[in-house]
């Protein structure tokens, strides 16, 4: 039971970023589908945006690490 808090923290905390990343990459795919030439210029901003979304999941992971087991 003691490890539940950490497990719940990371499980719930990863939900939002997962949706956000999927949505973001989906939009990027859409843009590439409309105009295949933009795949180069879209790549770096997409990765940067994904880094932001993933950071939220990492905050939850850090909290999970900090909780005593």
């Amino acid at each position: 039971m003691e490890g539940m808090a950490a497990a719940v923290a990371i499980a719930v905390g990863a939900l939002g970023p997962a949706l956000g990343i999927g949505y973001g990459v989906g939009k990027a795919m859409e843009a590439i589908g409309r105009n295949p030439e933009v795949s180069g210029p879209i790549l770096v901003p997409m990765l940067i945006g994904l880094g932001f979304a993933e950071a939220i999941a990492i905050y939850a992971l850090v909290i999970a690490f900090l909780l005593p087991k």
Partner: protein, 256 residues
């Protein structure tokens, strides 16, 4: 063996051998006089030494037509100067040393931290896997943004920023170093734990560890890029004030 036995053994082994059994704190490695030096600071110094030696040797016989490693360095600098110009305009040149140093140091620290030596030998840990180091860099960026804001807006204008358009401006300002440090720390630390866990718990985990090391390299680049881009954007915003912000990064291919 039963599945429950395997899983308990796996958890115990992962916790014990993950190298993070001491938690998030870092050991004091040695002392310089009265000042304790921890493992992460020592490995940061090692990486700085590597970078300085590399820079010294690259800068020695510079040729007009770059070849080899000098070419790589020139590509790096050209790309970043282009990006600095896009984000910050002509005034951006004064940020170039900070921005480039941040990028090169974080990238080198993340990449060198994935080599086999780091993490196993006592005294060598990936530097960004400690919150103190990333927080130190984030605090430096924070101090620089405040300095540039005061220089651009004047002290009165700087104080007025906290009241007039946005009363929560102070929260935004304070959340930036928090998120910068936590993002970098969380990514690198979690990556280290992940690789260790894979190595210990997965049977035949030696091979799959290479996949995760590859992921670590990728995450290292992306996080260095994000930290540096955010530093650049924050410095640029602080430098231009809130009247006229520069045109983001529209056309990335305009420079080439």
């Amino acid at each position: 063996m039963q599945a429950s036995q395997i899983s308990t053994m796996a958890v115990a082994a992962a916790e014990e051998a993950s190298g993070h059994s001491e938690g998030l704190a870092s050991h004091v490695f040695f002392h310089i006089g009265p000042i304790p030096v921890t493992e992460h600071i020592f490995s940061a110094w090692v990486i700085m030494a590597i970078l300085l030696v590399t820079a010294f040797f690259v800068g020695r016989n510079l040729s007009m037509v770059p070849r080899g490693f000098q070419n790589v360095v020139e590509i790096l600098i050209e790309t970043w100067m282009g990006m600095i110009h896009q984000v910050a305009g002509d005034k951006g040149r004064r940020f170039a040393p900070v921005v480039l140093t941040a990028f090169i140091f974080i990238l080198a620290a993340n990449w060198i931290g994935t080599t086999p030596f780091f993490g196993n030998v006592p005294g060598f840990k990936s530097p960004n896997s400690n919150l103190s180091l990333t927080a130190a860099m984030a605090i430096v960026v924070f101090a620089l943004t405040q300095f540039f804001a005061i220089r651009t807006l004047g002290f009165g204008g700087y104080l007025r920023e906290f009241l007039v358009p946005n009363p929560l401006h102070i929260l935004a300002e304070l959340s930036r170093p928090l998120s910068l440090s936590l993002r970098l720390f969380g990514n690198i630390y979690a990556g280290g734990v992940l690789v260790h866990t894979m190595l210990v718990t997965v049977p035949g985990g030696f091979l799959i560890t290479f996949v995760f090391l590859g992921l670590e390299l990728f995450v290292g680049v992306v996080q260095a890029l994000i930290f540096t881009m955010l530093t650049l954007v924050f410095l640029s915003i602080a430098n231009t004030g809130h009247g006229h912000e520069s045109h983001g990064e529209g056309h990335a291919e305009a420079h080439h």
